[in-house]
Symmetry: C2
Subunit: 197 residues, 2 copies
């Protein structure tokens, strides 16, 4: 159906998250119909990004600068480090404009199921920063999952000797969320963490 | 957030059909995390496809061969031409393995709203084939829309002088479809085209 080049393109597009075989075909067709204005610019953007973007050696964020534009920003609060599992979490927090400190990307969570152990996580640069700099607070912004909780507890033990303040993001009812559709665990967490009104 | 290369990549991915800003970010992140195994192969596939794939000069299908692999296939029935609006329709019919003849891609339908006129459609190669070859039947496989019906009527008038047999695909209840969710137009078409049981 159109030769190996088209098949190969559809196959690679179908591997992207959010695209299945059907939408990959639609995307490939749209690209094929606009080779100059869409297909080649995307090819160039991919090549450029693959060349330029690297993990930041300080925090693990992906950036075309190293240290990344967040670690390198003098206007941010370098005494508050927000620890996240992945770069996608960092992007989400940045879009929400809720954190004025810097970040540390662990690159995963401890997971018995996935076989992720402490030595698989990006930890050394975080310890180095805490020991070397004037870090006051480490905010654990990990997912409210079993692996997220395991990792938060392990990290807390690991960082306790440094004397740094360790906090974690609140768990509860999401803003805009109705109570009757929430799972029991979220309801229990929201009740346990209730605050005076 | 990561530099201009990442922003540019997300922007281009978000323009693909089926991907919005959110899924474009997820796709970009997945690619960035696997530059060698995912990002560069996709860039290469795009460049290769842009270089190799062209519209078939006979039928308008997109292929890295010209004439395309369908027009060039001696095992297909070259006396039966199925006329479709776009390459996506051709792909759908090929996946269903329901047409053993060849195709002709119009590249659009007549549309007062979109301003598509007869001279905007890929028609000359179809007329040339009908006049030159031993074409017996032209099957109109156009969408059951106003524009599709307009185009079918116009094409029928246009091809009538050649004496070729002109048919069109049936309209009715889709296989697996329940009657109570169908629109009135489909129900009317299905009733009008009823056949003895």
């Amino acid at each position: 159906m159109g030769g190996p080049e088209i098949e190969r393109l559809i196959g690679l597009l179908a591997k992207l998250p959010g695209l299945g075989p059907r939408s990959a075909r639609r995307a490939a067709l749209r690209l094929l119909q606009h080779p100059e204005s869409r297909m080649l610019p995307l090819a160039t953007a991919l090549t450029e990004a693959a060349r330029a973007v690297k993990p930041c050696r300080l925090c693990g964020n992906l950036d075309s600068r190293d240290p990344c534009s967040i670690c390198d920003d003098p206007h941010r609060d370098h005494a508050t480090i927000c620890v996240v599992e992945g770069v996608g979490d960092l992007w989400a927090l940045e879009r929400a404009h809720v954190h004025r400190g810097i970040y540390h990307v662990l690159g995963g969570t401890l997971s018995a199921l996935a076989g992720t152990r402490p030595e698989d996580l990006n930890l050394a640069p975080l310890l180095g920063r805490i020991e070397g700099d004037e870090v006051r607070e480490v905010i654990l912004a990990l997912g409210a999952t079993v692996d997220g909780a395991t990792t938060a507890h392990w990290l807390t033990e690991r960082l306790r000797p440094t004397g740094v303040t360790i906090t974690r993001v609140a768990q509860g009812v999401p803003i805009g969320g109705a109570l009757d559709v929430l799972d029991d665990g979220t309801l229990a967490a929201a009740l346990r963490a209730r605050r005076p009104f």
